[in-house]
Amino acid sequence: MPDDLYRLVYYSRNTITGDATALAAAITSILAKSQVNNQRVGVTGALMFNSGCFAQVLEGSRSAVEDVFERIQQDDRHGDVSLLAFDPAPARAFENWSMGFVGASIDDAARYGALVQDSGFDPARMTGESLFETLRKLAIEEEYAAA
């Protein structure tokens, strides 16, 4: 059924060049655009940037997730997109986030996360399930801190 709830998990390699300021600006604009677009079609999720990689979870109706993901796939600000999971989901995990940025602040992520470094975060070694769990936990921490 096209309207069933689906969850999609992927990670990709950043191809945005420039210094931390430029990177932070790019991520900020991606996030702003995502929040507007996703809100419109009922997609929620979280984005993270670390070790030169983006990791993202998208959830929503199957067709909406497919459309958003297709646009993301065509974006040349990242590459080597690895789609880890795309499955029906029992419920939303990011109910309140049209697109949340989790992990560090955008500025810190841009400053310290641009290089592939020994942060212990290596999405290439993760399954869709474990990457989803990572983002979900970070989102919960964030909500907790905000509350």
């Binding site: 096209p2 069933d4 199957r62 993901f69 297709e70 065509q74 997109v81 789609l83 795309f86």
Partner: protein
């Protein structure tokens, strides 16, 4: 109606020339010397409704329905005796071809043809209905134009041919509607990668082409080809499925690789062919000489298609021994192609090719039937191992073919052993497993061939309980001097024991290797040392009770 009323005299005055005007399908306007409308026929009246055209200038009239160019129409008549029609686009997207002539009696006549349907149809004739991209004909037309203008300016024009890898598998297994949805997404990705002025066309089921002009070559074509391979190979999420396809690209650039459209297209195709032959998922530029190699392949293809009918294929049999008893326990059937001028063509040269051109099923079936028939006549009931290509699992006929070969040859089912590689399990794993389980229920043995050379062997061992694991010769060669190979072999044999599978070592060539595989606990052996492949007649002799083989 005011118009009709005010026009009666005009119409009457211009009899008989305009007597047919009111009924004409084309919209007709007559303008006076001041270039104001003084007559409209019924079609024209309808066209400009609700505006009353009488007394209007053309510009005002056109503006009322969202078109511009009222004055330009006069430019044509002022400068040329045979003015070409001018195309107007109205705000409701209708298209009108508008011709204006001066009348000898003074004033002008304007006729307007609604060409909307005609133009749309012509556009449709240029489009691929599924993706909305240009079609093959339109591609060629555009190329002719681009090459003509490039010839004047001296600019380079690149043609990129793009083939989708693995698209057919998606289409076959998940169905046409999904395949169509995938093609539409692919078309969108093409569009997102192109610059204004580039032309992209769908020219076949899963074939696309791009014309790239006004760009520095070959750098621009390299960049575009790289981008397309990357972009198209990114995963697709469609109808709840995750789909992965790839792309191969061939590039030819005018004028270096030809300045005739058809030559350029052919050369791009040849380059694509090379990209596919070199592993796909890459791009290749046309090079002189590709044509000859292509010819060579064509002739090979013709020969291979005939090989079966001309009885140029032959089976030879390589013995397999039980290491504990030294008894012959079976033979593996191996194919040979004897060609009158090519000589003996090795299977590793023609089998992949047979898979590519789709004759593998026919050859595979011949191998199966021939091996069963010959083995049925052997004096001892030893096993006969037959290789299956991954492609034979497609089409859903494999189990029936095996049953029929057994019935026809009267070979007892437990003597037949089918060898498959991990490759067979890579795609459509569930379908393949269903067939394997069905064969297993019949009593046919199934072994895993070339073990250790593929991808995720251990996963497959769990999915299907093979009767036997054939350990690839790359682990056996010089095993006596390679501790790592000994370790691997020991690991595989103990794994097999735990899974209750037998092991056979392939490609054993020396006594030292034999000693090692014996020490590692292998059950069986096959190789040049213990017995080379031999013709059917020699098998008969070898199996005669008198000469029970004590080869080692």
């Amino acid at each position: 109606m005011t118009i009709v009323g005010s026009l009666k005299d005009v119409v009457r005055a211009r009899q008989p020339r305009i007597s047919a005007l009111p009924e004409m399908a084309a919209a007709v306007l007559i303008l006076d010397e001041d270039r104001k409308v003084e007559y409209v026929n019924a079609s024209a009246e309808k066209l400009f409704m609700p505006v009353d055209p009488i007394g209007c200038t053309l510009s005002a009239l056109f503006a009322s329905c969202g078109a511009t160019g009222g004055d330009e129409v006069f430019v044509a008549v002022d400068t040329s005796a045979e003015p070409a029609p001018m195309r107007l686009r109205l705000s409701d997207d209708r298209l009108l071809d508008c011709t204006l002539r001066s009348l000898s009696s003074g004033g002008f006549v304007v006729s307007m043809d609604d060409v909307t349907t005609y133009v749309r149809n012509a556009e449709l004739a240029e489009r691929d209905a599924l993706t909305g991209l240009a079609n093959r004909k339109a591609l060629r037309d555009r190329l002719v134009e681009r090459l003509a203008s490039a010839a004047r300016t001296g600019d380079a024009t690149a043609v990129l041919y793009v083939d989708l890898d693995r698209f057919k598998a998606v289409n076959d297994t998940l169905g046409h509607p999904l395949g169509d949805a995938l093609l539409r997404k692919v078309a969108e990705r093409f569009k997102s990668a192109l610059r204004d002025g580039d032309v992209v066309a769908r020219i076949g089921g899963d074939e696309f082409a791009v014309i790239q002009s006004n760009a520095p070559q070959p750098a621009a074509a390299t960049a575009l080809a790289t981008r397309l391979v990357d972009l198209i190979s990114r995963a697709y999420a469609i109808d709840g499925h995750m789909l992965h396809i790839g792309a191969s690209v061939g590039v030819a650039i005018a004028p270096d690789d030809g300045y005739e459209p058809d030559v350029l297209l052919k050369n791009a195709d040849l380059a694509l062919y090379r990209a596919k032959a070199e592993g796909r998922g890459c791009h290749r530029f046309f090079e002189p000489g590709m044509d000859e190699r292509m010819q060579a392949r064509r002739s090979m293809e013709i020969d291979l298609r005939r090989a079966l009918a001309l009885k140029q294929l032959e089976l030879v049999y390589q013995p397999q021994f039980d290491l504990a008893s030294s008894d012959i326990i079976g033979f593996e059937a191996l194919i040979r192609w004897h060609h009158p001028t090519r000589g003996l063509v090795p299977p590793e040269e023609f089998i992949p090719f047979a898979e590519e051109i789709g004759v593998i099923s026919a050859i595979g079936e011949w191998v199966l039937r021939t091996a069963c028939k010959q083995a049925a006549a052997w004096p001892k009931p030893v096993a006969i191992a037959v290789n299956l290509s991954a492609l034979q699992f497609r089409g859903g006929k494999l189990a029936e073919t095996v049953i029929s070969a057994l019935a026809q040859s009267q070979l007892p089912v437990q003597r037949l052993e089918l060898e498959i590689t991990e490759g067979a399990l890579l795609n459509n794993t569930d379908d393949v497993l269903n067939v394997l389980n069905r064969l297993r229920e019949l009593g046919v043995a199934v072994s895993m061939d070339d073990f250790g050379t593929g991808y995720s062997s251990l996963g497959y061992l769990q999915k299907f309980s093979f009767n036997k694991i054939k350990i690839d010769q790359c682990f056996i060669r010089d095993i006596d001097t390679h501790a790592d190979r000994q370790a691997i072999l020991r690991a595989v044999t103990s794994l097999a024991v735990a899974l209750r599978m037998k092991t056979i070592a392939e490609g054993v060539e020396t006594e030292a290797e034999l000693a090692c595989i014996r020490a590692a606990g292998c059950d069986e052996v096959q190789g040049y040392l213990t017995g080379r492949p031999m013709p059917g007649g020699a098998v008969m002799a070898l199996l005669e009770p008198a000469c029970s083989a004590e080869n080692f």
